[in-house]
Symmetry: C2
């Protein structure tokens, strides 16, 4: 039996203990965006440090101005090194009443189709995913006493809340963290049988705007129509973000956005992706983005503007004839190719100011940004990883794009000069960021296998 | 000393007791729109029944499918009769943190300018106002043993929450409630020295729309641009309610809206109203309504559309990259002259449906409606009331328009064939429906005087 085969067998024989550990970490309510959960984020970081020390890593909680990082090293094996990145924080769970069970009390459920899933907030994003890598390391150490290659691990606690402290932390600790390749487990498979390495990711520019009008809430009978209504001002600003063809109207928004390379477009067309299946899974049917582009292009290679939240005035039960004093919106732009997040932010602010009545005021809050990213798919490390994944799963691995942003990939490239292999085992129906998040049990088990294989492949 | 002079002297000698009663009723949290306060609404109705019985009225709590009515009669004096209407319910108090003191613990404060005010939710709208009438009745009974004319009193508990049960109650009890004239104390003075009778009131059509898109909240990275975003759909619907000139775009919206009679417009122009003062008082400066109309016309004689509330997606602290499943808005239309609220509601729903993507769904909730109203200003009762008010206040009383809706006035006209004298002692800076609502102490005391005088005048 090869070392790898022994490691894979060890993983299967010890799945119950691996699940116990995942459940323990899901129970920690590490909602980074809400200050009420600060202590839980700290506790989650400490949990990982203790766990990584138990495996044999040199691990420590590393403070930041926000939630702490976890940094761990086991570089006792010679060879080309890897830095694994994951995030231990999770999204808020509201609206809680839409969850079938406690988001912080994980369970194993069997779906009507027979699929076994792990339930709970973070079961997929990113606690379940990051634990696939840590469990693979644990198995290698248990079976062989060492890791196949030198490994460092960085776990962030602010990925879901803007990640403002990560760039500074990477720069301040560049020499300690730099490795030959980055590894991240925070993305999806192509489908349940086909693993994927994501080589294109959209960037992000998150922005909040608050429109201030009168210095108090007003009665809409007395003041209606004469007094500026910030809801009306905001609705105009938000509606004007798109033209009738679904294109974003900000000045210069499409600077640095070329048409997709025909070869890559042709490869994507062979994936069998259909808008009907993609949107049908969530109760929709009609691609809502730019006319002239497929739903796959809309989400992988075209930039967007989305209103993630908006609110103003009375939203409770019943009715209140009020003209509110303020209204606000949280808007995010997904960026592609060479779009500059800072230019996009400036263009959005100009878009707001151009539509602001002279007696209203706009306040802006910056919520993080990251440029889009592409990695070279002919690099040996990428080819080895693709082969390792193909060995584990029913169908060969594919190189794909991704609609979401993982700003750390750009920062690893910029600050540490590293390429990153983005291999994850999430599925489209995992409901990450939504009520009833889940992670397939097979994603967890074969995900651990996959990292065990990738570590082995990168050592050759 | 005339009977009237004795009554006025009695009022002044007993102000402390009158204030104690007003404070007691402000302490009752009768927020009608929120089901959590149902018992408080019942308690408020019971308080008035006990109080009116103490004065000598035949009074009872009268159940409805919602909050109860209070009905009281004292018709022992012969002559032309009056029905007084008020409402004991109040608006919600959110955002509570903007109140300087407990909205349900009334106090007397002295403003920096020396004006004494009564603080608390409902101090003006409508608890303070309705108690001016009841205290006037109490004084007449105390001094003379009878009222100058036959009086009935109707107090509603759902004025701030749509008033859906009032029309049915009026129709079911038409013979009992019908009187020669209606009296309502729920409007403002022209200014602090000039009393006013409001003879034109805008109507109202309140509507809520909920846009449903995907069957769950989605990650805006994975789904952004391909999946319909209900925030974006709603922003377009709301922005399209007005054109660039501030006119409402609904089909047929201006049907039944004539230009203002030049004579009345000329009279209004003599009132010395300025947009600078009206809007400057709340931190604004530029009339936001239809171009070509003064701010006074915009609020008295022109119809409007206002977004009273809107919301969708994540509105908490921080950021959440979500595409929500739903977004909703509460919209109200203020109506003038012969606009039909039902036609306006239908036109709004068509406006929504015309802008709804095929895979989204719109849900509508009706929130009450009332047509605009005008009363004949050459009627003897109106002339007598104007003279009585002119006798009390520093400056002569004026006939004015009003931007708000008091649907009961229309219903009294329609169901009971009654004209209504709308005489109130509120002021523009009373902050009704807002934090820190107040009612000037002089409004309360001279308001009681005013009703004592009007009852006397109507008996002649």
């Amino acid at each position: 039996m090869s070392e790898l085969a022994a490691v894979l067998a060890h993983i299967d024989a010890n799945m119950d203990a691996a699940l116990e550990r995942l459940f323990a970490v899901i129970r920690i309510k590490s909602i980074s965006t809400d200050p009420a959960y600060k202590a839980e984020c700290q506790a989650n970081a400490e949990w990982h440090v203790a766990d990584l020390k138990a495996i044999g890593f040199d691990a420590a909680v590393r403070p930041t101005p926000g939630h702490p990082m976890v940094v761990a090293h086991d570089r006792s094996t010679p060879g080309k090194s890897a830095l694994f990145y994951g995030h231990y924080d999770v999204q808020p769970v509201d609206p809680l009443e839409l969850w079938d069970r406690d988001p912080f009390e994980p369970t194993i459920q069997t779906l009507p189709c027979g699929t076994k899933v792990i339930t709970g907030r973070g079961s997929a994003d990113d606690k379940g995913q990051l634990m696939t890598f840590i469990e693979a390391c644990r198995a290698w150490k248990a079976v062989t006493g060492k890791l196949p290659i030198p490994v460092s691990i960085l776990l962030e606690g602010e990925e879901e809340s803007g990640g403002v402290n990560l760039p500074g932390f990477l720069q301040a600790n560049a020499d300690e963290l730099r490795a030959d390749i980055g590894l991240i487990c925070d993305t999806n498979m192509w489908d349940a049988e086909t693993p994927a390495i994501t080589t294109m990711l959209r960037g992000l520019c998150g922005e909040e705007v608050i429109i201030h009008a009168a210095d108090r809430d007003l009665h809409s009978g007395f003041y209606g129509s004469a007094a500026a209504n910030p809801n009306r001002v905001l609705a105009r600003i938000l509606a004007d973000l798109h033209d009738a063809d679904g294109r974003v109207t900000l000045d210069g928004f499409y600077d640095g956005v070329p048409e997709l390379d025909p070869g890559l477009r042709a490869q994507w067309e062979t994936l069998g992706f259909t808008a009907e299946a993609f949107l049908g899974a969530v109760g929709l049917s009609i691609p809502a983005g730019e006319k002239g582009y497929s739903a796959l292009e809309q989400t992988w290679s075209r930039p967007t503007a989305e209103i993630n939240g908006m609110g103003g005035g009375y939203q409770g039960e019943g009715f209140k004839t009020v003209i509110p004093s303020i209204a606000s919106a949280k808007v995010s732009f997904r960026l592609v190719f060479d779009q500059d997040p800072h230019k996009v932010r400036a263009a959005f602010r100009k878009h707001v100011m151009d539509r602001l009545p002279a007696d209203c005021r706009a306040e802006f809050i910056e919520h993080g940004s990251g440029q889009a990213i592409r990695f070279p798919t002919d690099d040996p490390a990428f080819l080895k990883a693709r082969e390792a994944l193909s060995d584990e799963w029913p169908k060969p691995a594919v190189f794909i794009g991704g609609g979401g942003s993982i700003p750390v990939t750009h920062q690893l490239k910029q600050s540490l000069g590293m390429d990153v292999i983005l291999a994850g085992f999430g599925l489209e129906d995992d409901r990450i960021h939504s009520p009833n998040e889940k992670y397939n049990l097979v994603s967890f088990q074969k995900g651990i296998h996959s990292w065990a294989r990738i570590l082995d492949a990168l050592s050759r």
